[in-house]
Symmetry: C2
Subunit: 316 residues, 2 copies
């Protein structure tokens, strides 16, 4: 597949940081940034811009806050570096502390939002837009919010937001390729002037195939992570996606090096991937938290009991 | 997805046996058979029917030969057991030693064949058909044999074979969902009176999504394995497939038990799944043997060198 308008965003450190409270060392993040940049990836999402007044900076690592100095430590001296993206949650950003884009260490802000919070997400994204940033709105958990509220949200982001890209997010890793086709078509009924993006989760080993499906239906902004690293089952793997995209600017080899040199080792102490409780949660269209909690207990592999519990809770 | 004509075949022991020379104990296979049968799966492929005169019975386990007595040890006393399938390779079966179906421990024979060997495969499958067995022909490596020989093979199996099902096999795990759609349509131009089946490999995490794609386009015979166990990257996982199929006869829970009690443990000593050299081989549409060989050496994680080598070999 070759389409010049396709942009790839690596969100390993941001989404993967949910596994280790964003405690990656600067050296680790720099190596990832260098490799991802060499691979020709367009954006590198380095973390969240949470206010340090809201979360403990000793409990969480630097990529939960993304101080300008921390980002520059990673990006300084890297030639042809990917653009830096950060994620913003409504109500957690200290706007007064944010620099204008032309003096900032990051280029793009993605505001993550459930459908019900879309008003506030639009407002926040618009503020960043006015400060000169590229902006996106990531609409989460779309496998659950399938009622008329979804059409309203699509219409509203089209009409009221200045965002460049609206991301469709399969937060629970529960969507199938037919769902993606329908979701993109539904979004396109309302969103005519913006790009669409897709962010999948791999609970059912469908993050990559769903990303391909999104591409087929005209989605141009694609999220992926190195070796699929991300919360719970993780994400579409960057190495698979780059292998699919035939644009000669992409090169899979630096990503292979990162996996061999950094991510294989990381996987020994951090858990993500095809893990049965996450598969079950995806199949049953549930939030990953129950499965994540289970994995911390002695019942981590008591699959049948977990399945029975989730099926029952779905009937409440 | 609910379609009564869909049949699921578990080939864990047969395909997974390629990882351990079919050295599963009778007790292990019996537990798998019981679980798969409880799960409502239609067929249980237990191994190959190779002649013991061609391979060493000390080097290989019982499921490379599938003696009647070995099968009965597994199936005896299991209520509502799945039908037993075996795989036959052309030139490796001692036909004189084969019982008629009505006195046999297996019900179905699947003859595996590359496109170039389809004449012999048809002849072998027809002999089993005459002996009263259900028969299938599994056409392998279809991502490579895409020329006019493929149409000829489809036309020939339709015209000359008595097989009930023609399986389309993505041996290298290199096909995408669009390839599946096209392949099924192409097969259907020729194969009008038989069922189609699909057997995928998971090199690119696409075995499950490709199986869904096959279902969407009318394929009714579906291969899967417990926890995806199979050669190299393995196969479509049975637990994912059963979660997708809404026929109430299927029950995922016995499969979850098998994974928790048997297959997690097995995975500690046997390798299959999303492993980068297998991913690379799938992406480059190559036979898995090079990657399997690499994984036995000290270079097992030298991904870049392996990638470069495979890319170069493709240019010879």
């Amino acid at each position: 597949m070759y389409r010049e308008s396709i942009k790839v965003l690596d969100c390993t450190i941001r989404d993967g940081g949910l596994v280790n409270k964003h405690k990656f060392t600067h050296e680790f993040v720099k190596r990832s940034y260098e490799g991802v940049s060499k691979a020709g990836v367009d954006y590198f999402e380095i973390g969240y811009i949470n206010s340090p007044n809201l979360f403990s900076t000793s409990e969480y690592g630097p990529w939960k806050f993304c101080a300008q100095a921390d980002i520059r430590k990673v990006t300084d001296g890297v030639p042809n570096g990917a653009k830096i993206s950060v994620m913003a949650d409504v109500g957690r950003v200290e706007m007064d502390a944010m620099p204008f884009a032309h003096e900032s260490a990051f280029h793009m802000v993605r505001v993550a939002s459930y459908i019900k919070g879309v008003d506030k997400a639009i407002a926040l994204a618009n503020r960043f837009h006015e400060m000169g940033y590229e902006t996106c709105i990531n609409l989460m958990a779309l496998s659950r919010d399938q009622g008329p509220e979804l059409d309203e949200a699509f219409a509203q982001v089209e009409k009221e937001s200045q965002a460049k890209v609206i991301y469709l997010v399969d937060s629970f890793g529960s969507m199938y390729q037919e769902d993606i086709e329908k979701l993109v078509a539904r979004a396109r009924q309302h969103i005519k002037t913006k790009e669409l993006g897709f962010h999948g989760h791999n609970n059912q080993q469908l993050a990559y195939s769903n990303t391909i499906e999104a591409i087929i239906h005209g989605v141009n902004y694609l999220d992926a992570t190195i070796y699929g690293m991300g919360r719970a089952a993780g994400n579409c793997t960057l190495e698979l996606l780059l292998g699919f995209l035939k644009n000669p600017k992409f090169d899979i080899r630096p990503v292979l090096d990162l996996i061999a040199n950094d991510y294989l080792e990381l996987r020994k102490t951090m858990e993500w991937g095809y893990i049965i409780p996450h598969m079950i949660a995806g199949q049953l269209n549930q939030h990953p938290q129950d499965a994540l909690d289970l994995r911390k207990t002695d019942e981590r592999d008591a699959y049948r009991a977990f399945y029975e519990r989730l099926v029952s809770s779905g009937m409440d």
